[in-house]
Symmetry: C2
Subunit: 265 residues, 2 copies
């Protein structure tokens, strides 16, 4: 090896990073095809003349990037992961008798959405939810927990909370009402949402999240805290979403109200 690639700022890259770059390039050029396994670690170690640990470290970089997934005992596979776009405003638009705007995401990609309801019932309010509803942590609220898929790949965990009395009026408890019929339902009972807010944070998946979303160790997830208020300015719904970061693109758009009325000095 003549020169170790004299990168711009004196960066003699470590072997495992160079190998990660190499494997990444092979994936992106289609040398390794999606859903196909990479060569085994011993094979790569032999091919590239390094120890298996070095290969393993290189692959762990690709794992947190979401480029590959590992199946224990079976092999390391190239992930096929186009991003899904989530348009917040469109998603939660109130379309009176219309389609449930919720699960259009991914349809453009030819993926078939599926929802799996893991729990419906009354629980103690977690901190975030209690704060939004203006109640105490642990006070009873109604929750519906779901796991959503696109083509057998889990794409999202969604926990929807309603205040106890509001839930009483709706059909949240009755069925696993497909997708986002909740808003029509709320509207029908005088709690139609007129204002939304979302807070977005990014963090590393917890162990349970990694298991539920089929994620690798150390992968990032997007956490969205979604709150809906009715016309009386009462919070009537909180949804907590946990989504694999590499799978999504979030979209927001808004208009500017004319030059803010007052405040002109």
């Amino acid at each position: 090896m003549a020169e170790p690639l004299p990168s711009p700022l004196s960066l003699p890259k470590s072997q495992y990073r160079q190998i990660a770059d190499l494997l990444r390039a092979r994936i992106e050029t289609g040398h390794y095809e999606k859903d196909d396994p990479l060569p085994s670690e011993p094979e790569l170690a032999a091919e590239l003349g390094v120890s298996r640990v070095t290969i393993n470290k290189a692959i762990s970089l690709l794992r947190i990037e979401g480029l590959v997934r590992v199946r224990r005992g079976a092999g390391t596979y190239v992930r096929s992961t186009p991003r899904i776009t989530r348009d917040a405003r469109y998603r939660y638009a109130v379309v009176p008798g219309g389609t449930h705007a919720s699960e259009l995401e991914g349809r453009a990609l030819g993926l078939t959405p599926r929802a799996e309801c893991t729990e419906v019932g009354e629980v103690g309010a977690p901190p975030d939810v209690a704060a939004a509803f203006g109640i105490d942590q642990g006070d009873p609220v109604v929750v519906r927990r779901r796991r959503l898929y696109a083509d057998e790949e889990p794409t999202r965990l969604a926990d929807t909370y309603l205040p106890w009395d509001v839930a009483d009026d709706t059909e949240l408890l009755d069925s696993d009402v497909g997708s986002g019929a909740i808003y029509s339902d709320l509207a029908d009972h005088g709690h139609g949402p007129v204002r939304f807010a979302e807070d977005i944070t990014v963090r590393i998946a917890s162990d349970e999240e990694a298991r539920a979303l089929d994620l690798e160790d150390g992968q990032a997830v997007i956490h969205i805290k979604h709150v809906a208020w009715d016309a009386t300015d009462r919070a009537v719904e909180v949804a907590l979403h946990v989504m694999p970061a590499h799978l999504w693109r979030l979209h927001y758009d808004w208009d500017v109200f004319g030059p803010d009325e007052e405040d002109d000095e």
Copy 2:
């Protein structure tokens, strides 16, 4: 060691993960104080009776979480990282003669913001920008690149692009106009923005980004593509933001236009 912690779903955690949990707990309880160094890897290895590699692997988990930072040759330090909230709508509100709404973020935390302009001038439009402006990739646009800090910590890279003819009218080129005076400036020249859109993706920091933002290897960044349109529906500004994911919380809120006017069956 009696039982290896019989966690709910038969999860005999690896040593390095248990050690990561331990160190994380020690950080969160203040056993290791912020801005202080952790014990050295050999010390931890001795204390916990494992090899240094295992300690190193545990710490690498804390690094991608943004809990600690490593200073080469010096030690591993606890990060003091409260999240900064970015309110998109408020940020870009048009306040005619008022304060530059841009850099209020973090003020609540007692951090002093600072901006450093790294480049101002004409460049070829990158793909994202070209698409928004409706021009060809590589066509000339004007860019201002900045790195923003809070209390000496880099918090954001912000590249602001303007179409060539629009830039001609503004003072973008003239100075490192503190923060977000661009919008007043655009408004003064008939290009006041009336609509905004933002696309958010999360990915692993590139090498350059990691260097510029003082990030660890494998840390996630939030990428925001921000577009502003004027009253003629022409895109007049594109900003690309790259932000360390562990440092931020993004906030969006919006009102629902009354039950969509028509469309009622």
